[in-house]
């Protein structure tokens, strides 16, 4: 008995003009498998939907083709209609007779429209139902790193009722002390206290990840702390391992009075110098062009030094990047309070003259050389990924950008996702720092994970992409090729190892189905037969 297909044409309220729908309906009605053809003017609106649900039920349709606008716009609506009519939502195929037919060709395009419908029918006849299944997921989250970003993510997650483990390789939490949040204009003083008081957040210091397996919703992580290894399950992993800095050509002999931004904030906080520095110099943006942190750090430190010691402040700069939030205001404040900005093309020379740091630079605007002796010079720093980022990358099998930071800006994954579902990045470990955006990223990660895990279960297509254990020869190609690391080798009942695709981790790209040398992987909706059937339909047009 042939599969019963219902075809619904929608003229989109008259927006599809150059198609003779009567003729099209007549011709489509004759096609094999078609038991009902319908014309509507507003299928996606309420009444249209009602009519469609009842026709599907009354005529006992087993497959549905909708000829109208682009599936990218309305496919989910028609899938909902199928479900309402008691039909598996995957048994739908759409013919884009609006954007890809009526609107791009002049004159009558009825023939092409019928062609596109015939392609959709050929495909729909082969479609298989795909169930949705709920999978339990762990509501625990692992946060690697303990800087400002890491601890904030942990706090926000705990507010969503998710337990978090903050894992820090060092002996102590880094936010506040190591990473001077004040420099970046954020207050981190209370964050550690909040974290330690929050019973939803477990802190593991001098702890390291040894091995990692499994997929989103159930990462298996072996953590080593104080010589003991424990195995834990996590639904998601957040990497917030921050960054480290290296002073650029400090002028070795200048010695102690050339400091990093962090060191300068220590001096500011507990003025470890015997006497207060009368003149302070800053070097800004000569070698590391793209990071925004140096500008913000320089402005905050300059203002703080002016306020505390009233010292003379000179900033040798190539560029002052004020495009992130609130930085323009800081820059104006600095100038108003008397900070001198010296614009020069090349980095100034740093030397020593009677115990003070000598800075020689060329002031481009004044058109003359400037020699400055200052008590403290805050040198320029290169922003680099934290130590251990590579080992983490190989453990998680995620990629880094050429400079070693995580998640180069692939527009589809931007801003906090990685190519592996359930693994997120936030903060300094992503390179190009912008404090304003970092705060947005922190809530972005928390919201993503909350959405993913807070229900404790995730609904996903069940075995929409599946490797047939009979045909799989365990050649490992799909496992190595899958861009999302969603496939692993598992032993099935016949004591044979075969590829198993995780429904949660799979991002439905079909690369595995294309590379499988044994044609063992079926990707419902885009199986070879379903693609070749559309080519077959084109042949007869």
């Amino acid at each position: 008995m042939e599969t019963k297909v219902g075809v619904f044409f929608c003229n989109c309220g008259g927006a599809i003009k150059n198609i003779d729908f009567d003729a099209a309906l007549r011709e489509v009605a004759r096609l094999p498998g078609v038991i009902s053809v319908n014309l509507d003017s507003s299928l996606c609106l309420e009444e249209g939907k009602e009519r469609m649900v009842s026709s599907i039920r009354d005529e006992k349709m087993e497959r549905v083709v909708v000829a109208g606008c682009s599936p990218l716009l309305k496919e989910h609506i028609f899938q909902g209609i199928l479900e309402k009519a008691g039909l598996n939502k995957h048994l739908l195929s759409m013919a884009n007779i609006r954007e890809q037919c009526s609107w791009v060709h002049d004159g009558d395009v009825t023939a092409k429209a019928v062609d596109l419908v015939r392609m959709a029918i050929n495909r729909v006849l082969l479609l298989q139902p795909v169930e949705t299944k709920e999978t339990a997921v762990s509501k625990e989250v692992l946060v690697a790193g303990s800087g400002f970003a890491a601890l904030n993510v942990a706090l926000q997650l705990s507010h969503l009722g998710l337990r978090t483990t903050v894992m820090e390789e060092g002996p102590v939490l880094r936010a506040g002390s190591e990473e001077p949040a004040a420099v970046y204009g954020v207050d981190a003083s209370s964050i550690i206290a909040e974290v330690e008081a929050n019973e939803n957040v477990e802190v593991l210091t001098s702890a390291r990840v040894m091995t990692l397996e499994g997929k989103v919703g159930g990462f298996g992580v072996r953590i080593k702390k104080a010589g003991k290894e424990t195995f834990r399950r996590y639904g998601a992993i957040v990497l917030a391992t921050g960054h480290r800095t290296e002073i650029v050509n400090p002028g070795a002999e200048a010695g102690a009075s050339v400091v990093s931004q962090k060191a300068f904030t220590d001096i500011l906080r507990n003025s470890s110098l015997e006497r207060e520095p009368r003149t302070v110099g800053f070097i800004l943006d000569f070698s590391d062009e793209n990071s925004r942190f140096p500008t913000l750090a320089t402005l905050n430190s300059a203002l703080a030094a002016k306020k505390k010691w009233g010292s003379e402040i000179y900033v040798f700069y190539k560029s002052v990047k004020v495009d992130s939030e609130g930085v323009e205001r800081l820059y104006q404040q600095a100038r108003d309070s008397g900070v001198v900005f010296v614009k020069s093309e090349t980095a100034p020379k740093i030397g020593v003259e009677d115990g003070r740091v000598k800075v020689e630079g060329r002031d481009v605007f004044a058109g003359e050389d400037l020699v400055l002796a200052c008590d403290v010079l805050v040198a320029e720093e290169l922003y680099l990924p934290a130590e251990g980022t590579e080992t983490f990358s190989s453990l998680l099998n995620v990629r880094t950008d050429p400079k070693g930071f995580w998640q180069d800006d692939n527009v589809h994954l931007y801003p906090v996702g990685s190519e592996k579902k359930g693994i997120f990045f936030v903060g300094g470990c992503r390179g190009d720092l912008d404090p304003g955006r970092m705060l947005a990223d922190i809530s972005g990660v928390a919201m993503n994970i909350g959405e993913l895990l807070s229900a404790g279960k995730v609904a996903a297509d069940f075995e929409r992409v599946k490797a047939d254990p009979q045909k799989c020869v365990a050649c490992l190609t799909c496992i190595r090729v899958c861009p999302h690391g969603a496939i692993q080798l598992v032993r099935v009942e016949s004591s044979k190892d075969v590829a198993q695709i995780s429904d949660l981790a799979c991002d439905a790209c079909g690369v595995c189905a294309a590379v499988c040398p044994a044609k063992a992987i079926a990707f419902q909706g885009y199986r070879d037969e379903e693609i070749l059937a559309q080519i077959e339909a084109i042949k007869r047009s």
Binding site: V473, C475, T477, C516, P517, A518, K519
Partner: protein, 219 residues
């Protein structure tokens, strides 16, 4: 694992020239794993042949089939009906598969579509390298698990030769590591350099009397 390489389409096209109806037979084991002879490649080769024949304005009917292992007569027997229905068979199996098929269906011409190259392992995605030459007299125990018979370009038992390039690369290829330098480094690491210092007498190249036969001692 046996590694093979697909023959150029030109060669296969000439083999199939006299025939109008052929079977393209794949093998589901080694040649599937090294991407040349599995069900996917059967489809592609069949399509390539039909396209080529179409370009000449002549017709070609192709049947396609892939069995688990072409070097097993019981598995090849599954193809009996299809083979009786065609004039010739082009097999994407390794040499063993092609010959088992040729032996089982003696009245049908059987043609190889791949060149069987070596026993090897994957070095990268889609890249395989030779590891074993099936010499029948394995002495990996004395070379730290690196076989000079195939991985040294001259198969030397007392290497390296004088032609080793700077950095320990092979005489014939600046990219390839000299097997004997690899052996030296591994044995040195394991503190077993005495193995390399031992003189290796000339090899028994007839350890396997070609063509080889192996009789299992017991079931």
């Amino acid at each position: 694992m046996i590694i093979a390489e697909r023959k150029p389409i030109e060669e296969i096209r000439l083999m199939m020239a006299p025939y109008k109806k052929i079977l393209v037979a794949g093998c589901g084991t080694c040649v599937t794993v090294c991407w040349v002879g599995g069900e996917k490649e059967v489809g592609i080769l069949a399509s390539e042949l039909r396209l080529a024949r179409g370009a000449e304005g002549r017709e070609l009917v192709t049947l396609e089939a892939t069995v688990d292992r072409q070097c097993e007569k019981e598995m090849l027997a599954e193809l009996r009906d299809k083979i009786s229905d065609v004039e010739a068979v082009v097999s994407l199996a390794c040499g063993a598969g092609v010959q088992t098929m040729a032996e089982l269906f003696e009245d049908k011409p059987v043609f190889p579509a791949v060149n069987t190259t070596f026993i090897g392992m994957p070095e990268g995605e889609g890249l395989w390298v030779e590891m074993c030459g099936a010499c029948g007299d394995c002495f990996l125990d004395r070379t730290g698990g690196i076989c000079p018979v195939v991985r040294c370009a001259k198969g030397l038992l007392n290497g390296p030769c004088g032609g080793t390039r700077r950095g320990g690369k092979c005489e014939i290829d600046a990219e390839k590591d000299c097997a004997w330098v690899l052996i030296y480094r591994r044995l040195e690491r394991q503190g077993r350099l005495d193995l390399m210092r031992e003189y290796r007498a000339p090899k028994n190249y007839r350890a396997v009397k070609r063509p080889g036969r192996v009789q299992a001692a017991k079931a």
